[in-house]
């Protein structure tokens, strides 16, 4: 009786107090995230006149962002790079997540996860720069290959182009792919696999018919987590991308800083966010269908 009264009393009290409690981070997110993004949307419909903004509504920025070949090239290249990075990162990460989940003893797992995340807590700029040292003309890879007599001329296709951007970004986002896949694999009920073994399924069929389908939500999550933010990276392309490796984010940065045309930069930013969001939604939808068919 007493307990029930306490529970009911707390229930009545809980409804407002939860909202009160969450209000500081909520207000913060509204004031410094939702409103600023709304402001970016607003100025994307304005025009820059040298020093001040012309606040009459116009679609000119969007017309320019969508019709000028230079922006279209950068946008398509960004999407292609992000998609390639996502594919590489997720494919490379899956065996690692699988190894840690299925072959590392239980009490060592968190240590392994810690080991995998350590390299990513070193300075981001420094890591990108060191890839330049590794991939460069006199870099670690070329130096080693030449000394070993495997090649005579340094390989030039690995620095200052899109390949270098893909390699560097695949490295930078590795833990963001490994962790969600690892979590999904950890959730798999091991007795399902034992049952399959008892029923005479081989290793490969067990993997294809049980492990992979059940890990798919994690793989999907990993793909989204890598795909969306890589579209916004402008540091990696600047440092290792060379002239033909620049991406849409470099253009956005240019418009906001040196070119001093925030409305056009805003239109480019909003356009790329919309495209990325739409592609992500389509990707998730397609895979939801796939998941539902399986089960």
């Amino acid at each position: 009786m007493g307990a029930a009264a306490i529970v009911r009393g707390r229930w009545r009290f809980r409804l407002p107090s939860g909202l009160v409690l969450v209000s500081p981070p909520l207000l913060y997110a509204i004031l410094l995230l939702a409103l600023p993004i709304a402001a970016v949307v607003t100025i994307s419909f304005w025009t820059q006149n040298y020093l001040d903004l012309d606040r009459t509504f116009t679609l000119a920025n969007y017309r320019e962002a969508w019709s000028q070949p230079v922006y279209r090239v950068l946008m398509l290249r960004s999407l292609a790079v992000s998609a390639t990075v996502t594919l590489c990162t997720v494919l490379l990460a899956f065996p690692i997540a699988y190894f840690v989940s299925f072959h590392v003893p239980q009490h060592r797992k968190s240590l392994w996860i810690f080991l995998i995340t350590i390299p990513f807590w070193t300075s981001y700029l420094m890591r990108i720069f060191l890839w330049k040292v590794i991939l460069g003309y006199n870099g670690v890879i070329n130096g080693t290959l030449i000394r070993l007599g495997i090649i005579e001329e340094p390989l030039s296709f690995i620095l200052y182009n899109v390949n270098a951007v893909v390699i560097t970004l695949s490295h930078a986002w590795a833990p963001f792919a490994i962790l969600p896949i690892f979590v999904a694999l950890e959730k798999i009920d091991r007795s399902l696999l034992e049952a399959a073994t008892d029923l005479g399924e081989g290793t490969v069929r067990k993997f294809l018919r049980i492990t992979l389908p059940l890990a798919l939500p994690g793989v999907l999550g990993a793909a989204i987590i890598v795909f969306i933010p890589t579209v916004g990276d402008y540091v990696t392309p600047r440092l290792v991308g060379g002239p033909n490796g620049l991406l849409i984010a470099n253009m956005i940065e240019l418009q906001f800083k040196k070119a001093n045309n925030p409305p056009l930069g805003a239109a480019l930013a909003i356009s790329s966010m919309l495209i990325v969001a739409a592609l992500s939604l389509i990707f998730v939808r397609l895979n939801r269908h796939h998941l539902r068919d399986r089960s």
Binding site: P95, F99, M126, V231, F256
Partner: protein, 271 residues
């Protein structure tokens, strides 16, 4: 077949770990290398680049700024995370999913969008860019991480302990201070350390929102353009790597103690 497959997997894991650690391993090598060029072959051992760091005044200013920004951002985002995590794990309220979603959005939002949108608002409102503008941006991106860490700490907590405290005449506030807070303290410390580390290393937002005073990553960015400065940048990177490692190992240690502690409290509650 299975043995061979396993051996292949192990070899792959070894190769992948080499890929992950390659940049980190090179950093100290070049920091101690006695050459103005950051490339192989190595030229011999030197501490000159570290000595140079001690003499570079702009670096000290940037370090001071970074420490201020990271400390304030870590403290504020942990406070935000405490509110969000407590609300998410112990309360139900209208629109909870949407509200928590909004708070967690910076986790998947490209940082350039956060940087650009804050830049627009701060300039339109007529404020100057200074260290506070960087702090505002960093709190925004650190809060989701703090919320995740603190949610784990709160959800491991035994609810019976709170109810016992209230039955014994404590108010909600004193229960929080005397029962809950001590139990989640390691989680709070871990959250502060993680937020501090993220803020210390954040470049994209800081680059957009810094005025005349720069943080360490913005300073490093300005130095990467000058080949002569690169060896000392490597030395700086080595120092930062050492600091991050110490912070992260402590955070990990505290996080584990947090889950041990609340697990022990749970076990006690079952008697």
């Amino acid at each position: 077949m299975m043995r061979g497959g396993f051996r292949f997997l192990t070899a792959y894991v070894a190769a992948y770990l080499l890929f992950l650690y390659a940049p980190v391993l090179l950093l100290p090598i070049f920091a101690f290398n006695d050459s103005r060029v950051v490339a192989f072959p190595l030229q011999g051992f030197t501490l000159d680049w570290f000595r140079l760091l001690l003499e570079t005044e702009p670096l000290h200013a940037a370090t001071r700024n970074s420490l201020i920004v990271a400390s304030v951002a870590a403290f504020l985002s942990t406070a935000m995370g405490l509110c969000a995590a407590r609300a998410a794990t112990r309360h139900s309220f209208a629109g909870k999913k949407g509200i928590m979603g909004l708070i967690m959005v910076p986790l998947v939002l490209p940082e350039i969008i956060v940087g650009v949108s804050l830049l627009v608002v701060i300039l339109q409102a007529g404020f100057n860019l200074n260290l506070w503008s960087i702090i505002l941006g960093h709190v925004l991106i650190c809060t989701p991480f703090c919320t995740v860490i603190l949610s784990t700490a709160f959800s491991n907590l035994d609810r019976n302990l709170e109810e016992a405290a209230i039955d014994l005449g404590e108010t909600k506030l004193t229960t929080f201070r005397r029962v809950i807070l001590p139990l989640v303290m390691p989680g709070i410390m871990a959250s502060i350390l993680i937020a501090f580390t993220i803020s210390l290393d954040e470049f994209i937002i800081a680059f957009f929102l810094s005025g005349t005073e720069t943080t360490l990553p913005v300073y490093i960015w300005s130095q990467l353009r000058f080949p002569a400065r690169l060896p000392s940048v490597m030395a700086l990177g080595t120092v930062l790597l050492a600091i991050s490692l110490i912070l992260l190992v402590s955070a990990e240690y505290l996080r584990r103690r947090a889950s041990d502690r609340s697990a022990a409290a749970n076990a006690g509650g079952n008697f």
